[in-house]
Structures are given as structure tokens and as C-alpha cells.
Symmetry: C2
Subunit: 276 residues, 2 copies
């Protein structure tokens, strides 16, 4: 549920009908967790928006102001999630971009109830039938063209399914619709390379930079079959943290050891459960 | 320039900040020409929106109301172009679509000045460096995920360049950023097949259904090199009609005979120039 929103720092409930985000999905965004009235991993979230602006040739907004907007959103009573969007702003007709500074759209959402069972017992995943289109020029970027995720998410209504893994047309696994995915092989954690599709998440970067003691972490091209031979599977997401996977399609994973180790490292900062 | 806009039939200048078109580009749209205060080719435009709704699993809006919205937009003094958007409407957080009826967003823009020289002498095109991502599930549909077109249009600022032709990563020509493309080989008109990418335009369908006397029209896989061997090249677009191509990159086309024949057939309805 939306609690409050700001456009370029001013309270707002609506966006100009000429906004290019509405017409073309011409925006980049990031979604932050709020814990103890503060945004978690703020520097990393701002960093990814900077990278998105560069990739999209989108004139940067004032980052100091964006940080202030996000701080205001985090201070809203009951806020648990913040979405920060940088839109290319108003457009005339036509695709030609302009040089105007990106428009800041910041939305505070209510905190979601935390289901401890999900972190303890893991979740069920499916494979999406909808393929993820490849676009190397925007791979890794969280931009406003997300119809592939919408179409994949439309494939199931069973609440028992937490998310779906999406693959490129050639069968390479990329990510879930709302999270990155890691597989554990022995003491090695592997997550799909994102040079053709996918979103390089803030939590994924944390895991790659700081794998738990005794584990290494790397990126690799990964096939569907390979995932089935992993010792363990888990999702990473900046709002939900690390979520172990119990089943993927018909396959069951017996271990959650790396996921539980990562929760101990990352979840106290996020205000999420730690499973002993 | 925007003259007026309506959301679900009510005058509006802004869209709810929760609209999924803004967040995901989760909308389909079409752009109509206005001539003599009436929308041109209205049935075909409504037809393509219906197809888009089916492809995107988007609950259809009331088409009678949409037609009324478009008629009101066409009656605005000075209106020359109408954009009709069907958005999936408000969303909570998350990609899961809902069953709510599509939201109608209709915008009237001022008429553009018509440059007769463009129809008489043809335009200059370039090849886009940005590749067009392939997504067979949405190929042909004019949806709100248009970052590929934005990125391609950002490649040039020279006003002498009218548009750029976009290709798939494997080098198949698809379309210009704002128009479909036809090549003439003798008495045969060919336009790229759109089964992997691209937008199947309303004017393209007219040309395919009713080629001028003495010509046939067909769809085909077309390479960049093949375009260079054509006798003639032209663009089709429901707002600008048929526009002959004078040059593509360094190549010059000597003939505009099919384009001029099509103008005679199609342009009176659109209020666009006919070149004798």
C-alpha cells in the first residue's frame, strides 16, 4: 500500500500525463528496504541509479536531493519499502530524448509482514515459460521496460509459488522475476552472468563481494539442468534479503546452509529474520 | 504540443503515481491522424489495441467509450494527432497483473506542419547502431516498452536525418524507430516480417492489403545488404502516411514511383500531400 509520494521533492499523488516513463517506460528505478526508519544500503541503491542513467543516457538528477527524498520517505510512520524512480521527465511527441535533468519520483510503501517460515523452510519456484529478451546494451540495468516480468508473472496464480526463474531464448537462466538467483555447488556460490539480460541487484552485489566464510562466489553462464544438480538454491533481493529455495519445479533441495549463513551476515542490517 | 487529455473519459492532466504504465511500461497504445476533425482509420487503430490487449493479457477497456474519447479528442480545435493508450491501471507493488479493466488515456496533440518537400524529394535515413531486442511473444504489438527506440533515437541530432532503421542482433531489418519500411524490387513491394520484433503499423497493413495497381506486396526476412539493392524504399506511418526515402546511409534511391502511387491512394483520406 502506498503511504506517500514525492515528485522532485514535492508531495504528489499523480504524474504529468506527458511523462516519458508513462509513454515509453523511459525511467530507471530501485527499491529499498526501510529498517528503523532508515533506508538500507542507500549508497548502493544510488550507485545503481547512477549506472542506469549512464547506460540510458539519462541526465542525472541531483543526487543529494534524491537522498533527501528517500530519507523523508523512510521517516514516514509504517514505511517499509521505498521505490525511487528517475524518469526522463516530460516529453513532446516522439522518441528523441532531451537534456532535461531526470525527474525524481519517490514512493513510500507500507511495511510488509515478514513470514519467518519462508526464511526457515524455503520457497517454491517454477520456470517461466515466457523467455527473457536479450538486450546487452541495457543488461544489468533496472529500467522501466518490464513487460517480460509482467508476462512471466501472469503465468501463475497459485500463492504457493513464490516466483519464477526466467531464461533467455537459448536456455540460459537469468533471474527470478523479482530477485537474483544463486546456486551452491559445494563451497562455491554461482549466480548467472548478466551480460545479455537481467537486473544486477544490490543484494546480489553484496553476496558476490562478501560471500560467507568458507564460501567463494562467482558469476557464470548457467543452464536449467545445471540448477538441478546444485546442492542449494537461494534468491537475493534488497527488500526481502536472502530467501532459500525448497523446490524448483519438481526438484527439491536438501540444504539451506549458505542461505542461512548469508542471513546471519546480512539480515540484521535489514531487520529480517536470522535462522539459527 | 498537447492540447487536451482524458483519463477514462474525464479531462485530466496527470496520471495516478501508481499507474503500471509508469512503473513497468505496462500499456499498449496507438497514434491516429486527425483530418477534418475526424480520426483517420479508427477501426484499424481500435483493432490493433484489441490485439495488443489479447497479447498482453490486458483486460479490455470499453471500446465504445474509447471511440467516444477519440472522437472528442479529434474535435478539439487544432488537433492533428491523437494518442490512445490502454494502461493496465493502478497496481500495488509487484508485477502480478490484476483483472481490472484497462485504463483509457487519450491525448490530443496539435497538428504538425506538413512539409511537402519531404513527400516530393524523400528523406534521409541512417542505420541505428542500437540493436532491436527480439521478443516473439510481443512482436508486432505497440506496447509501452520502447527503450530500444529511445536509445536508437538518441544516436543522432542532425535534423537532416529523418529516422533510423533498426535491425535484430542477427542483422535482419525490422523497421524505423517511428515507421515501418517497404522496399520495392521491380513490381514487388516487400516489408520485413515482424515475428521476432517490431510494430505492425496500421499504414503498413493498408499497403499490404491494397498495394497500388501493378504492384504486389508481401512480407519477407530482409537483410541490410538487400535493402541496398532495392529499386525504391519508403516508410509507412499512420500519422505521416507514406514517405519516400532518398538516401539510406551512403546509398541513394533513384525511384519514388510506388511511394507516389501509394500517396495518391492513401493521402486524400489522411489530408496529406499527393505528388503528381
Amino acid at each position: 500500500m502506498m503511504l506517500a509520494a514525492w515528485i522532485d521533492g514535492a508531495p504528489a499523488a499523480a504524474v504529468a500525463i506527458t511523462d516519458r516513463a508513462l509513454h515509453y517506460g523511459d525511467q530507471a528505478f530501485t527499491t529499498l528496504r526501510v529498517h528503523a526508519a532508515r533506508p538500507c544500503w542507500l549508497d548502493a541503491h544510488v550507485g545503481r541509479l547512477r549506472e542506469a542513467c549512464a547506460a540510458m543516457r539519462l541526465a542525472e538528477p541531483d543526487w543529494h536531493s534524491l537522498r533527501a527524498d528517500i530519507a523523508a520517505a523512510a521517516a514516514v510512520p509504517g514505511a517499509g519499502v521505498i521505490k525511487a524512480i528517475v524518469s526522463r521527465g516530460d516529453g513532446a511527441r516522439g522518441y528523441a530524448p532531451h537534456d532535461a535533468t531526470g525527474r525524481r519520483i519517490v514512493i513510500a510503501y507500507a511495511a510488509l509482514p515478514v513470514d519467518v517460515a519462508l526464511y526457515r523452510d524455503g520457497v517454491a519456484l517454477r520456470f517461466a515459460e515466457w523467455p527473457l529478451a536479450e538486450q546487452p546494451g541495457l543488461a544489468g540495468i533496472k529500467h522501466g521496460n518490464r513487460l517480460d516480468q509482467v508476462m512471466a508473472r501472469a503465468e501463475w496464480r497459485d500463492d504457493g509459488i513464490h516466483d519464477a526463474l526466467m531464461c533467455t531464448p537459448s536456455g540460459a537462466v537469468v533471474a527470478a522475476t523479482t530477485a537474483n538467483v544463486f546456486a551452491r555447488f559445494g563451497d562455491e556460490l554461482r549466480t548467472p552472468v548478466l551480460d545479455r539480460a537481467g537486473v544486477a541487484g544490490v543484494c546480489r552485489a553484496r553476496v558476490l563481494q562478501s560471500p560467507p566464510a568458507g564460501f567463494s562466489a562467482t558469476v557464470a553462464v548457467m543452464s536449467r539442468d545445471e540448477l538441478m544438480t546444485a546442492d542449494e538454491l537461494f534468491l537475493s533481493n534488497a527488500v526481502r534479503g536472502v530467501v532459500p529455495v525448497r523446490t524448483l519445479a519438481d526438484h527439491r533441495y536438501a540444504s539451506m546452509s549458505a542461505a542461512h549463513a548469508l542471513m546471519r551476515a546480512l539480515h540484521p542490517t535489514l531487520g529480517l529474520p536470522v535462522i539459527d
